[in-house]
């Protein structure tokens, strides 16, 4: 809001010097890259049969580097916790959505849920997967929120929280069960890999979708019935 323009001038020069160094460094890094790297795609192609899915991207995200995806879902949850820690919803907007938005949301939300399910299912063989499906689900939630829908007080307490942590919880639970069985964390048994990945992805899709919609809502929904 209030910017000390006079005070910022030396910092501006410092910033420019820093950015110049960054540009030179980045340019050097790009130019010193080898022209053609073999990458890890050969390893992925060799082991794709054991991964339980045939889409290499899903195989890497949910099987070979499942740990990263676990942490990503955790980060998303942390982001929501950060937003919620800022307080509740400041004010309920009482604007009426208008007939077009109302009608559109009624028609689009079921379609978006269907598309999310499709993306989740197709992720095993083709581009798609939990994050894309979750984002589409989140878009459906945003559309509902724009059209004036608010989660009821009954849903916004424990049920909402349980839904939010389902994805991370399912991921961690599968990892722990695998450790108990004698494997390493998220080292699936090949015969069950496909089913486990689908299970984790389904839970993650739901959680990601609800998390993104809750991020759009922008604050902690009020808990408990208000009478």
């Amino acid at each position: 809001m209030i910017r000390g323009v006079d005070k910022q001038t030396p910092f501006r020069w410092l910033l420019m010097v820093f950015l110049s160094f960054l540009t030179v460094g980045l340019g050097y890094a790009v130019l010193s890259l080898p022209a053609q790297t073999p990458g890890l795609s050969d390893y992925v192609a060799e082991n794709i049969e054991n991964s339980g899915v045939s889409n290499p991207v899903t195989a890497v995200l949910l099987n070979f580097r499942g740990y990263d995806t676990l942490l990503e879902i955790g980060v998303l949850l942390l982001a929501l916790l950060g937003v919620w820690s800022l307080g509740g919803i400041t004010k309920q907007r009482e604007s009426s959505p208008g007939p077009v938005l109302d009608m559109l949301s009624r028609m689009l939300v079921p379609l978006l849920i269907l598309v999310a399910g499709y993306l989740l299912w197709i992720g095993a063989h083709a581009p798609g997967g939990a994050f894309q499906a979750g984002a589409v689900l989140g878009a459906a939630g945003v559309l509902l929120l724009l059209a004036g829908w608010r989660p009821g007080a009954r849903f916004s307490g424990l049920p909402l929280r349980i839904t939010l942590v389902t994805g991370l919880g399912m991921f961690v639970a599968v990892g722990i069960v695998l450790i108990l069985v004698g494997r390493r964390l998220l080292e699936y048994l090949p015969p069950f890999a496909g089913a486990l990945i689908l299970l984790i992805e389904a839970a993650a899709t739901l959680s990601i979708g609800i998390t993104l919609a809750a991020l759009f809502l922008g604050g902690r929904p009020e808990v408990g019935p208000r009478r």
């Binding site: 907007r93 878009a139 922008g218």
Partner: protein
């Protein structure tokens, strides 16, 4: 085949330049609403660029999260900023009643 390759390289060049231009406009625009719209357009073109780079997975994620949800989140944040700062911006569609409430 030659014509197709030429057309593709022309398309890629235009796409790359448009991305750079949109990014610059989004950063340099003083109007926040305009900047957000430019950012959404940037995300959509970026998704197109990912498709051109044969990365449809990232293209899907970019279009859904980078352009769609981030844009919606930014617009929601802007609406909140405006209603808090009591600024008289032109681009208010649905929160005029709030502005009236806070105006006094």
């Amino acid at each position: 085949m030659e014509a197709v390759t030429l057309l593709q390289s022309v398309f890629d060049t235009v796409l790359g330049l448009a991305l750079l231009w949109l990014a610059w406009r989004a950063l340099a625009s003083p109007d926040l609403f305009r900047a957000i719209v430019l950012f959404i357009a940037f995300g959509l073109l970026m998704a197109l660029a990912w498709v051109r780079l044969d990365a449809p997975d990232i293209a899907l994620a970019e279009a859904a999260i980078g352009a769609g949800l981030t844009g919606a989140l930014l617009l929601a944040a802007l609406a909140r900023l405006e209603s808090r700062n009591e600024t008289k911006m032109l681009h208010k569609n649905d929160n005029e009643s709030e502005a009236h409430d806070q105006g006094c």
